[in-house]
């Protein structure tokens, strides 16, 4: 039986399959359809200190093999999360990664402190990459100094593993992975959504109330895989890859490109029962390829045959 477990600092995952933040509610919504303890981890919906109502609808639009969202981080805030959701997640033995968002470094720090004291939080994912809100988040995620500053400030505030989540809307994502590493991150996760928009041509209005939103789903997978591959070459940190994963094969693409674990977001909307086929698919692959553990596969892209250029000038 091959070993699917993954260790990232103190974060121990039974398998590399994580429910992506914002695509799995607070986890408890899905307790009826999937045994939460069978997932590698659950990354809960992005939390601010305070409650937020988010953007008015329309909040999503379907696009070719993808979707745009501009939810605007509606959420119950960290305190209600700890009171109302965390106990149930604990009872269900979910490995909980809390995705945190702030408008200032102090907010990230305060969130980290509060969550470090809460029982049942396994790691913090720093959302510095949400394209849908003007204030905060992305302003850190699009600046190397900002990324470094947030990460190093949070580093001082918590012993929990910290995982900055990187935006793909940058020229050189690998430099952001490096900034995160330098700031003391335990891993990086990527990618968040691509800033995008859709227009209703009859009314000539944006289809989203927020005008722009984030593109996710299979459409973005090839770009996300490339970004994981680039980060793999730039940093030693474990990488948590995501973007359009909808099958075990897709997950394996990310792992072979360099991801130690993966997250699945949009595909859960289409198929909330996707989890055990995903996990079984990884196990079957390892068995079929006679690999003893998933770690043997991470970053094992064979570019050898491709390195020889032929008549190409």
């Amino acid at each position: 039986m091959p070993d699917l477990s993954v260790q990232i600092a103190t974060l121990k995952l039974a398998n590399p399959i994580i429910a992506a933040s914002g695509c799995f509610g607070y986890g408890v919504e899905y307790a009826d359809v999937v045994d939460l303890s069978t997932l590698g981890a659950v990354a809960v919906k992005g939390l601010f200190l305070k409650e937020r109502e988010g953007h008015p609808p329309p909040r999503i639009v379907e696009t070719p093999s993808g979707m745009l969202n501009a939810i605007g981080l509606q959420g119950i805030g960290v305190h209600r999360f700890i009171q109302e959701k965390l106990p149930e997640l604990r009872d269900r033995r979910a490995v909980v990664i809390v995705n945190i968002c702030g408008t200032t470094i102090d907010e990230y720090v305060e969130l980290s402190r509060i969550l470090s004291d809460a029982e049942g939080v396994a790691a913090l994912e720093l959302n510095i990459s949400c394209p849908n809100i003007k204030e905060g988040g992305i302003t850190f995620g699009c600046s190397l100094a900002g990324t470094f500053d947030v990460v190093s400030a949070v580093r001082k505030a918590t012993k929990l593993p910290i995982i900055p989540k990187l935006t793909p809307n940058v020229t050189d994502i690998a430099s952001f992975a490096r900034a995160a590493q330098d700031g003391g991150a335990d891993a990086v996760s990527l990618v968040n959504t691509f800033l995008a928009m859709a227009i209703d041509v009859e009314s000539r209005r944006p289809k989203l109330s927020n005008i722009v939103g984030g593109l996710s789903g299979p459409a973005i997978r090839p770009i996300a895989v490339r970004m994981v591959y680039e980060c793999r070459q730039a940093v030693k940190l474990p990488i948590i890859g995501m973007g359009g994963i909808a099958s075990a094969t897709d997950a394996l693409e990310f792992i072979i490109a360099g991801a130690a674990a993966v997250q699945v977001g949009t595909a859960n909307f289409v198929d909330p029962f996707i989890w055990s086929p995903l996990i079984d698919g990884l196990r079957d692959y390892l068995t079929r390829h006679q690999l003893s553990g998933i770690g043997d596969l991470v970053g094992r892209l064979d570019t050898h045959a491709r390195d020889k250029a032929w008549i190409s000038s």
Partner: protein, 280 residues
């Protein structure tokens, strides 16, 4: 507890060049389904279109022994997914997730019989008829006198009228072009009836249709002091509370909040909806 089945298409019955009924083989969903609940259907395999589409459970289909064997949906062709369902071939399979959402409440609890209304009026606009076939069956089973106010653009947009009448439901029809029933909107006969009905009747209104129609019914209900239960239609990414796409503005403790209509709805007490802010 919702389940996902690769449901075989048992029949595709065209009702017009826009409407059809798709019968799906899904006994376990049929067994659990309650009136007002919905399913999420994947119109085609592959990633284009990517998302599932929400559909009210129209009928509970039964086998010869009367056991629940499947569900049907009343489909109106308006876009890419509903077109695929309009053209779906019997024998093919459709991923069907359900039953989802909160059902209609008659009286106290969705399952229990306590404090039934003395009368129930259903107000349907167009494809908003869909949730009322199962609701009507439940009303009739519980001996609640039921009326259906049913409006469409024209006579050829009205379906299952005989079916409701055979069940014992009083049906009042309107069409915008006057080709069947009263000419105009369904809210006109409804308004007259509300003015006429005795105030000591415990009357509940159930409305499903275009948002402006539901808003108008809600206003009429408020005016006449009658509870109005609505079934809202918002774009839904997941149907399970995961994405927060389907929110509707609901008044709670004085202030308005966005509430997920897939798990806290689609059925709502219309009094709590902030109609002016509801996305149409």
């Amino acid at each position: 507890m919702p389940i996902d089945v690769a449901a075989a298409v048992v029949a595709n019955t065209r009702l017009s060049d826009e409407y059809n009924v798709v019968a799906l083989d899904a006994p376990s969903i049929a067994r659990d389904a309650l009136p007002g609940q919905f399913v999420m259907l994947k119109p085609s395999a592959g990633t284009d279109p990517l998302l599932r589409r929400p559909f009210s459970i129209f009928e509970i289909l039964r086998d010869e022994t009367g056991q629940p064997a499947g569900v049907s949906i009343l489909n109106k062709r308006i876009g890419v997914g509903t077109r695929m369902l309009f053209d779906v071939q019997p024998g093919s399979h459709i991923a069907c997730l359900g039953p989802l959402g909160l059902p209609f409440v008659i009286g106290g609890s969705p399952r229990g019989p306590d404090a039934l209304p003395s009368e129930a009026w259903m107000i349907a606009g167009g494809v908003g008829l869909a949730p009322f076939a199962t609701l009507a069956e439940m009303l009739v089973a519980r001996r609640v006198p039921a009326t259906l106010f049913y409006g469409g653009r024209r006579a050829s947009d009205l379906f299952y009228v005989d079916w409701f009448e055979r069940l014992g439901v009083r049906v009042i029809l309107t069409t915008e072009d006057g080709s069947r029933g009263e000419r105009g909107l369904v809210t006109a006969p409804l308004a007259r009836a509300l003015a006429a009905v005795s105030t000591d009747r415990l009357l509940t209104l159930y409305a499903c249709g275009p948002t402006p129609m539901m808003a108008a019914v809600a206003a009429l209900g408020r005016k006449h002091g009658r509870p109005v239960v609505v079934s809202l239609e918002q774009t839904m990414g997941c149907g399970l509370g995961g994405c927060y796409s389907c929110v509707v503005p609901v008044r709670r403790n004085g202030s308005a909040h966005f509430v997920r209509s897939c798990i806290d709805g689609p059925v709502f007490d219309s009094n709590f909806i902030v109609w002016d802010e509801l996305h149409r």
